[in-house]
């Protein structure tokens, strides 16, 4: 579904004519005060229930949705380059949601995958997009991607990201990034060919934080294909946009492609606690589908204390956000799961089990991940944790939220005390045979043991 020109121009025009607001005022007054008022209006203050990390209260989810809708209308999006606010009426936001597809496909041929709006506890299988844009060295890029797309549970490809380009340091916003956009496509194609997954849908461009990677790699000969792939528009927190993001939006329009709108809200950040972060995520999601005409995506919470979202409060907020979106829209919402532990650790798999299960029962259409070791370390991503997360995600489709909550309460005590001090684990070459793309015995054993544990806890991986 091509982007609508009238809506695109409306966004650009408002970015240059809307009310002026300085970022400091936005961050310290507009966002926190509007969210606080909405929490009060809908009786949502201190509703976070860490003892029940998977929310089962539909009315609560609906009230969060209404609060998020109010905030989206009240606040709009701040364009950082013009310091003007792009405002939308309630009707325009509703139109944006109505116009978003309830179903769409990525990929081509045998690799075509259907994304479909999912209800709560929906048995329709969710889509697993892997991995996040974790940095890997050039020599390991193809093996990492090949290993990951060899995993049959992986439906679409996003990361990893390049750190260098033909040996030179890749610098964001520089001409190197323009080259990297195309190079990543080239390397992906080679890895996909080796894995026999030609035609798999891709998120463009994982490596590129600014628009240059998209301009260099998307919609050009030999690059990412508009008819098969989707463009990542990651918007700055909270509810901000920039020329960089808008450039990507315009390039997608020019190429006749579709967009993914993504963002996040930090618990403890501008939006406040878990309840404020949940409202902010919902508001931001509505704006992403309105301003960017997104086909996929959403804003998700994570916790500033440990820079992840697999702890109780973040899981509660995550579930509320996706349940609110599932019950009140028909969009194909996508989340990101931010694990904190590294490869070859049990903790990484426990985090994945709880987070993927929660998303599966809370109506997420798709999820992107894993963000192994918080995405902090070069080459700390392997295919095995990607397989595990995807297996859990799909196996939990159709599970009840009550059961998921019970399982989460069994698994969380196994790792939550370590969230602020998660083990780094081992890098890809340290826990994988890079030639044969097989995990070491140690990593395989850890996977097998945790798989048994989560099966006993109730996740139907058998």
């Amino acid at each position: 579904m091509a982007l609508n020109r009238e809506r695109l121009m409306q966004v650009l025009d408002r970015a240059h004519s809307g009310p002026i607001c300085e970022p400091f005022k936005w961050d310290t007054e507009v966002i926190p005060q509007t969210i606080a008022a909405a929490l009060k209006k809908y009786d949502l203050v201190k509703t976070c229930d860490p003892d029940n990390p998977v929310n089962q209260d539909d009315d609560l989810a609906d009230r969060f949705f209404q609060a998020g809708f109010d905030v989206a209308v009240e606040v709009g999006m701040l364009c950082l380059d013009t310091q003007r606010v792009i405002k939308f009426s309630r009707e325009e936001i509703q139109h944006g949601l109505d116009a978003a597809p309830a179903e769409f496909t990525l990929g081509e041929g045998k690799q075509k995958v259907t994304f479909r709006h999912r209800g709560l506890e929906d048995p329709f299988p969710p889509v697993w997009v892997a991995p996040l844009s974790i940095a890997v060295t050039e020599d390991l890029f193809i093996p990492v991607v090949e290993g990951i797309v060899r995993e049959s549970v992986v439906d679409c490809l996003e990361g990893p990201s390049l750190q260098t380009i033909w040996g030179s340091k890749l610098r964001a916003g520089s001409p190197y990034e323009l080259l990297a956009g195309k190079l990543q496509a080239d390397l992906n194609y080679e890895a996909i060919r080796r894995a026999g997954r030609e035609g798999i849908g891709m998120y463009a461009v994982g490596t590129a934080p600014t628009h240059y990677g998209v301009l260099g790699g998307y919609g050009i000969p030999g690059g990412y294909k508009p008819e098969r792939d989707i463009v990542l528009l990651l918007t700055p927190v909270e509810m901000k946009t920039s020329y960089e993001v808008l450039h990507k939006l315009c390039q997608t329009y020019n190429c006749g492609g579709i967009t993914y709108g993504g963002s996040w809200s930090m618990i403890g950040g501008y939006a406040g606690g878990p309840e404020g972060a949940a409202v902010s995520c919902i508001a931001c999601t509505l704006l992403l589908y309105t301003a960017y005409q997104a086909s996929n995506g959403a804003s998700f919470p994570y916790d500033m204390k440990y820079m992840g979202n697999c702890g109780r409060k973040a899981q509660w907020a995550l579930g509320v956000v996706f349940q609110a979106l599932s019950r009140n829209t028909h969009i194909c919402a996508n989340s990101v799961l931010n694990q904190t532990a590294g490869p070859a650790t049990k903790m990484l798999l426990y985090e994945s089990a709880v987070g993927m299960m929660n998303l599966a029962v809370s109506g997420a259409t798709s999820c992107t991940g894993p963000r192994t070791a918080g995405g902090k370390f070069t080459n700390y991503i392997t295919p095995l944790e990607t397989r595990f997360a995807g297996e859990v995600f799909k196996a939990c489709a159709g599970m009840s939220r009550a059961k998921a909550n019970d399982i989460a309460n069994r698994l969380l005590p196994l790792y939550e005390a370590d969230l602020g001090k998660a083990p780094k684990g081992k890098s890809f070459p340290e826990c994988y045979d890079v030639e044969r793309l097989k995990p070491t015995e140690e990593w395989q054993r850890i996977y097998d043991e945790v798989k048994d544990e989560v099966i006993k806890a109730g996740i139907p991986l058998n």
């Binding site: 926190p32 934080p209 927190v237 902090k376 070069t378």
Partner: protein
């Protein structure tokens, strides 16, 4: 007004629901009262640290902390010119901070800048997407003691090294401590680019600056300091 009242008014202006103008007025009252500036700065620092403690405990959130940080900056802008006149031995220093080129993430940088202000440092925040030369020029013009570089993306990391390279090439490396931080920045990376310090989080970054300013050692340091 007696000394205790003047200082209490300053404390209350910083932690309470008061405006920047209220803070400035309270700080001016301190100066006019003739109170030792050391005592005033101590009172203000104690007040703002209590706000920082509340943030670390999760009792307040980032916006409240940032507003308190702004108030501290305004307070210090009034008190600072009188430090020399009073022959003060107050610690502190001037920090130029920003997110490096190609990176528009600001939440971590804002948090670090605020925690530094909370510790009584004079902050010049250059914002996001700041080119290497701009850091160097700003630090030189402001007479800064420390340059603090933030980065959330691996593809903006090279710019942290480029700031240090530019300082070396322009013969200014011994003028400023350079500290680095952000999501993908590890102590090993900091060491590899010759940074003087690295900190895991905002509170640690503020402590790091205090350590550097009281170390008595001139930059560049032989080994990266990790608090």
């Amino acid at each position: 007004m007696v000394q205790g009242d003047v200082l209490e008014r300053l404390r209350e202006a910083i932690v309470g629901d008061s405006s920047l103008e209220d803070v400035e007025e309270a700080a001016r009252a301190v100066v006019e009262s003739g109170i030792d500036i050391n005592d005033a700065i101590h009172a203000a620092t104690e007040a703002i640290r209590s706000v920082g403690d509340c943030f670390e405990a999760g009792d307040i959130y980032l916006p409240e902390l940032m507003i308190a940080g702004r108030k501290m900056e305004r307070c210090m802008s009034v008190l600072r010119p009188h430090i020399k006149a009073a022959g003060s031995s107050v610690q502190g220093g001037r920090i130029v901070i920003g997110t490096v080129s190609g990176d528009i993430h600001d939440i971590g940088k804002n948090l670090v800048a605020t925690m530094m202000a909370v510790r009584g440092f004079d902050i010049m925040d250059l914002g996001v997407n700041v080119p290497p030369l701009k850091f160097v020029h700003a630090a030189k013009d402001a007479g800064a003691d420390i340059i603090a570089l933030s980065s959330l993306m691996t593809t903006s990391l090279p710019y942290q090294q480029e700031v240090i390279d530019v300082l070396k090439e322009t013969g200014l490396r011994d003028r400023f401590y350079v500290i680095v931080g952000g999501g993908p920045v590890t102590p090993e990376f900091a060491e590899s680019i010759g940074a003087d310090g690295w900190a895991e989080n905002a509170a640690a970054a503020a402590r790091l600056c205090e350590m550097l300013m009281t170390s008595g050692e001139k930059p560049p340091l032989a080994k990266t300091v990790v608090p």
